[in-house]
Subunit: 413 residues, 2 copies
Amino acid sequence: MKAEIIAVGTEILLGQIDNTNTTFLAEELAGLGIEVYYQSVVGDNPKRLEEALELADQRSDLTVLCGGLGPTDDDLTKQVTAKHVGQELVTDEGGYQNLLVFFEKRERPMTENNRLQALVFKDGESLQNSNGLAVGIFYQTPTGNSYLLLPGPPNELKPMFFNEAIPLLQNHFQTDEQLISRVLRFYGIGESELVTKLADLIKHQSNPTIASYAKPNEVTLRLTVSTTDKNDGKQKLDQMEEVILDRVGDYFYGYGENNSLVEVVVELLKKQKKTVSAAESLTAGSFQAMLGSVSGVSEVFPGGFVTYSETTKEQLLNLDSKMLEKYGTVSKECAEAMAIQAKKLAHSDFALSFTGVAGPDSLEDQKAGTVWIGLATEEGVESYLYHFTRNRNYIRHSAVMTGLDLLRKKLIK
Amino acid sequence: MKAEIIAVGTEILLGQIDNTNTTFLAEELAGLGIEVYYQSVVGDNPKRLEEALELADQRSDLTVLCGGLGPTDDDLTKQVTAKHVGQELVTDEGGYQNLLVFFEKRERPMTENNRLQALVFKDGESLQNSNGLAVGIFYQTPTGNSYLLLPGPPNELKPMFFNEAIPLLQNHFQTDEQLISRVLRFYGIGESELVTKLADLIKHQSNPTIASYAKPNEVTLRLTVSTTDKNDGKQKLDQMEEVILDRVGDYFYGYGENNSLVEVVVELLKKQKKTVSAAESLTAGSFQAMLGSVSGVSEVFPGGFVTYSETTKEQLLNLDSKMLEKYGTVSKECAEAMAIQAKKLAHSDFALSFTGVAGPDSLEDQKAGTVWIGLATEEGVESYLYHFTRNRNYIRHSAVMTGLDLLRKKLIK
């Protein structure tokens, strides 16, 4: 089957925003075994969109359109595609209720143009939007051309794709075969190193397939098996997982697409009914802010300190000024004292400390990227020296992720 | 003039790499006054590339191709395009010398396939590669169709575009006109509201043109004037800026593409030799982490507190437990006490406090999005109530940005 992706939006055409939706969709469709042969972008222009649809009909079985489902005059993907395939637009009940609830909550009147977002094809299938207002559409013509219309904002498009589009596509384009995926998450190993360690598996992959994805400081592997029998598929995934973890299990921290190192750490803390605090210098609150991104973290995180200057290290954490003078703030001694004091003052079970050189300039004769991380536990305190690279923000982010992983390893011991 | 961009590469088609070249080229071409009407991606497949070229000939005057100029079997952009326009491939002397030098320096023999990278069109113009080996090509057919072939690696494509392609394009497509841009940055107004307030200007824009760009919690406007006289251009930009700021100047905070609200605030603090601290509840360190993202912030930011739980509000900030019991932590009283104590304990000139409901659940019977921000100054303390919307992280981000803007307004008073 041949698929193509058409992103609609003048702002993409002019290079004002990155076309990340197309990259996302291409990768996901490939994961479903649907091959993308063409990608294109057209502006908010009905004539050119119509031309793009005509071209797509000639060369592709499935056309995925993203963008242009909103309420303004610019948004015309639905209207143009409906006309192109001869479909009447009707109001989707679920989408309309969603609209009403949205405006009621905000105590704002719903302007007429918003209704457009609930319009769908008369003979199509609707895809509900869990994170916005525009309803998505799937439609297959009697002659077998299929169209999938998705909203432009990535935070709407992605959940709609995962929750609504994947089952639909599997339903329409798969035989008895179904695809089962499993995502393995790794921290502390680069993508190229991971891929090198699994080179033979990746080279000879067929079923399951193995795809790697790199994010800052993280790599995920997605294993996908095509099978007619769920149990058989699960077994194949188990076997492949075992072979992979046998080689790189030290870096494995969790499963699933919607997961992250911080969520795994918060979950472990909750299960063990433990709390964590922090004293942050170069990270300036980033570690605690990341904890704060997890809903329900208040159970395990009471709070902590940002001690950016030497003075606040003394004043807020009661660190000994003579110790700081002797060893400097970028030191094992300072990191350990920070962690001990944060644990004590915030009455937590664990406390992490971060002190180092975010850069670009050196500090206390130590190069940018030099970072000490301390970890205070009920048994005592430990500390580790790192040399991170790249720019200021990458160094700070690396420190935060490393701190999370230190805590995770302590929790699973 | 109509232009289109064709990115060549199977790895883009499969979503394995982001198509950043197209975004870059689209934005740069727009800056040169060359309008991009279509973008597309084709894999490393001669037949589909030939089809894309045929289509481009029908609808565009200039076709910019990127990728596929390398030495391997996959790289076929040059060969397919040469055949398409009936051009013979010949060796470019500069490109060939570049190859020889490259392999001599590395003391490695040059394999035969590398010569391909120095091949150019017999009647075209060559674009030298300052950062790699593949030579770029510009060619105009007798009937007026133009082709620009650029290498795929962004670190080769960008310098070649700036140093070699821009003069060529200006030479072929421009008169004496040059484009001068100015970026205005706004905070606290949504893109749709800003655009509505400037609707007549935007509708009748011609020279300068006005383009708006939305980012989370921020909007920028880029004014671009086309002129043969720099001073005249600057004057036109000044006049347009004056008209715009007359209407929405309350939200204007700075100039330039590489700028941000936090950088403006840190700059103001530095100039006035003032310091800021913070006590953060729902934002959990995000405000301080954002300050920490600015290099050199240590001059103006000593540190502060993350007081996520009620207990840490009492223990770390010495807040009165009776006051907290009476008013709750999501209250004017709590926000003001937090700011006052943070200022006092961190010995800073200003302190901000953030307390509220990040969600998704309610807290103390207050809805997610309810946020109090306190600002302690040398004159006293003030506090403000907000109702932010969307999800947990957007609410936290909105609070941080609003806090920055409160401080900025205080500093410019």
